[in-house]
C-alpha cells in the first residue's frame, strides 16, 4: 500500500491551460519522496490537490489507502503540511502560533514545547513570529506541521530562500524525523542538489507530466547509462573503423568520438590497437553526468 497514490490525476485552470496530465504519483510508506520539477511544472498544484486545497477535476487521490474526498478529516488528522511560504500568524509568538493549532488538533499541550525544542525555537519567548528570520519562520512552519505527530509530512519547497546553512539545518531536521519517527515525507523542490542527500525516492515532473519516478538508485543507474567515454585522436576516421571492428557502439562523432562506457581493460586494449595502427591518442576521458544533469536531461526530453 502506498502512503500517497494518485491515479491519472488531471487538472486545468482553464480549457487551454492544462496543468497536470495523468499524474500517477506513488509515495511508499516510510520513504522520503523528492518531488522535483522546475518552477511552474505542476508540483504545487499536485500537492494542493492532494491536500484538498484545490477541487479535484479528474483522477483519483488515495492517501493511507483511503479516498481523500470521502475521508478528508480523518486523513488530514494524520498529515502535516507546509505549502509554499510558511503560514504563520505574524502578530503571535511561536508558542501562540502553536496554541492556535493545538486547539484544533486537540493534541497534548506538552507537544508545543516538544516541537519548539525539536526545531530549535524553544527560546524565542515573547518575540513575535513576524520578527523572525526566514529560516526561523520555516522552522516554525515545520513545528506546526509536526505538532500533532503526523504520519505523513508534505512540504512544498521548505528550503526556498534559505542560505546554505539554513538548507543544511532543515535537511538534518527532516532526516532526523524520518529516521527517528518513521514519518513519510513528500518534499518538493526545483533543485535536485538540494534534496538528493535526503531522499530515498524521486519523482520528476515538468509541464504537468510525471517524467520519472523511482528510487534514488534507479536515478543513479540512469546516470550511469548516460555516461560515456571520449577519444581524441589524430585520425578519427581510422579510429572509427577500429571501434566498429570491436563492436563498440559509437554515440557521437565531432572533434572527439564518444563511445559507450567500457571497463578499464577493454579501454586499454582499444588504446593499444589505436596506437599499433599509428593513430595518436591525445586524450581518453570518461564523462559522467551528475544527478543534476540527469534531472535537466529528463525535463528536457
Amino acid at each position: 500500500m502506498y502512503c500517497i497514490e494518485t491515479i491519472n490525476l488531471n487538472y486545468q485552470f482553464s480549457e487551454n491551460e492544462k496543468v497536470l496530465n495523468n499524474i500517477n504519483l506513488q509515495v511508499s510508506e516510510g520513504s522520503i519522496y523528492g518531488f522535483l520539477g522546475p518552477n511552474g511544472a505542476g508540483k504545487t498544484t499536485t500537492l494542493k490537490l492532494i491536500l484538498g486545497l484545490l477541487k479535484k477535476q479528474k483522477g483519483e487521490i488515495m492517501i493511507f489507502g483511503q479516498t481523500f474526498l470521502k475521508n478528508r478529516i480523518e486523513i488530514l488528522s494524520n498529515i502535516g503540511s507546509m505549502i509554499e511560504t510558511p503560514s504563520i500568524y505574524s502578530h503571535l509568538t511561536a508558542r501562540e502560533n502553536l496554541q492556535v493549532l493545538q486547539k484544533v488538533y486537540r493534541c497534548s499541550k506538552d507537544r508545543i514545547a516538544e516541537v519548539l525544542e525539536l526545531v530549535g525555537l524553544a527560546n524565542t519567548g515573547n518575540k513575535k513570529a513576524g520578527n523572525f528570520s526566514l529560516g526561523m519562520k520555516q522552522r516554525l512552519a515545520i513545528a506546526i506541521a509536526l505538532l500533532h505527530s503526523p504520519k505523513l509530512l508534505i512540504l512544498d519547497e521548505p528550503t526556498n530562500g534559505l542560505d546554505p546553512n539554513g538548507i543544511l539545518e532543515i535537511r538534518e531536521l527532516l532526516k532526523k524525523l524520518a529516521h527517528l519517527q518513521g514519518i513519510t515525507i513528500l518534499i518538493s523542490s526545483h533543485l535536485l542538489s538540494e534534496i538528493e542527500k535526503l531522499v530515498t525516492h524521486i519523482g520528476i515532473i515538468n509541464y504537468g507530466n510525471l517524467l520519472f519516478q523511482g528510487t534514488l538508485p534507479d536515478l543513479i543507474n540512469k546516470q550511469k547509462l548516460s555516461s560515456f567515454i571520449q577519444f581524441s585522436t589524430s585520425d578519427n576516421q581510422k579510429a572509427l573503423e577500429i571501434f566498429e571492428k570491436n563492436n563498440i557502439s559509437i554515440l557521437s562523432i565531432n572533434e572527439k568520438i564518444s563511445i559507450q562506457i567500457l571497463d578499464k581493460s577493454k579501454i586499454a586494449r582499444i588504446n593499444e590497437q589505436l596506437v599499433l595502427n599509428r593513430i595518436d591518442v591525445y586524450e581518453i576521458q570518461t564523462v559522467k553526468s551528475d544527478l543534476e544533469q540527469i534531472f535537466f536531461d529528463v525535463i528536457k526530453d
Binding site: K48, L51, L54, L76, L101, K103
Partner: protein, 258 residues
Amino acid sequence: MKFIYSFQSEWLKKRRSLAAWLVVIGAFFTPTIILLVRLKNYQALPKLNSAEDFWIKLWFTNWESMTILLLPMGIILAVALITQIEYKNNSWKQLHTTPQGFSVIFFAKFTVILVMLIELFGLFNLGIYLSAVLPSLILSDIPFPTAPIPFSQFFTGNLNFFIECLPILALQYLISLQFKNFLVPIGFGFAIWALGIGMTSWEYSFALPYNQAVMDFLRNSGNLKREISVNLPLLAFIYFAIITFASYILYLTKREKG
C-alpha cells in the same frame, strides 16, 4: 465539541490584532467624547442629572454617532481585519488542511465576529453608564443621576440595534471571504453605507441592507418625519439569514482554498 475547539482557536488568533483593539476603541469612543463634553459643561450637570428622562437622552446622544457612523464603519473594518489575518499571513491553506469541516471553519470564524460585536455592545453600554456617573465621582459637587435606569428599554434597544447590524456583518463577511485585497470589502462597505446615508430621505431607504439601524434610530429618536410600517429587526434578520446562506455556499464552492 469540534466547533468549540475551532472557536477557541479562532479566538486566539485575534489576540493583539487590530480587530481586537478596534472593539475597545469603537466601544468607548463616543462615551469618552460625551464624558469630556459633560465635564467641560459641569455647571449644567446638576440639572441634567436630576432630569426624569436623563438616561433616555444620554442613550440617544450616545447611539446617534454609533448607529450612523461608528457601528457600520467598525463592523466593516473589523470583519475585513479578521479575515485579513488569514490572507496577510498566507494561512488559509494551513487552516484548510487542518482536520476540520469547512462548515466548522466558516461558522467558527463567523461566531468570533458575532461575539466581538456582542463585546462591542457590552463595552459601549458600560461606556454609556460611565459617561453618566464618572463626573459625579470625579467632581464632588455633582450629584449622581437620580432617574432609574430603564433596563428593559435599553435591553430591547440594544437587541434591535444588534439584529439590525447583522446584515452589514454578513455581507461584509461574504465579500471579505471572496477577495484577498483588503480594499475591496472596505470600499464596498463604505460605498453601500454612504449610499444608505445619502438616501435616508427616500421612502424605502429602510430596505437598503445597511440602513435598518440608522432608520430605527431616526424613528425612535423622533428625527424621522414619516412612518415606517415595516418591522426593521425582522427585515434585518431576513437579510442576515439570506446573506449568510449565500456566503456559506460561496465559501464551500470556492475552487481554490488556499
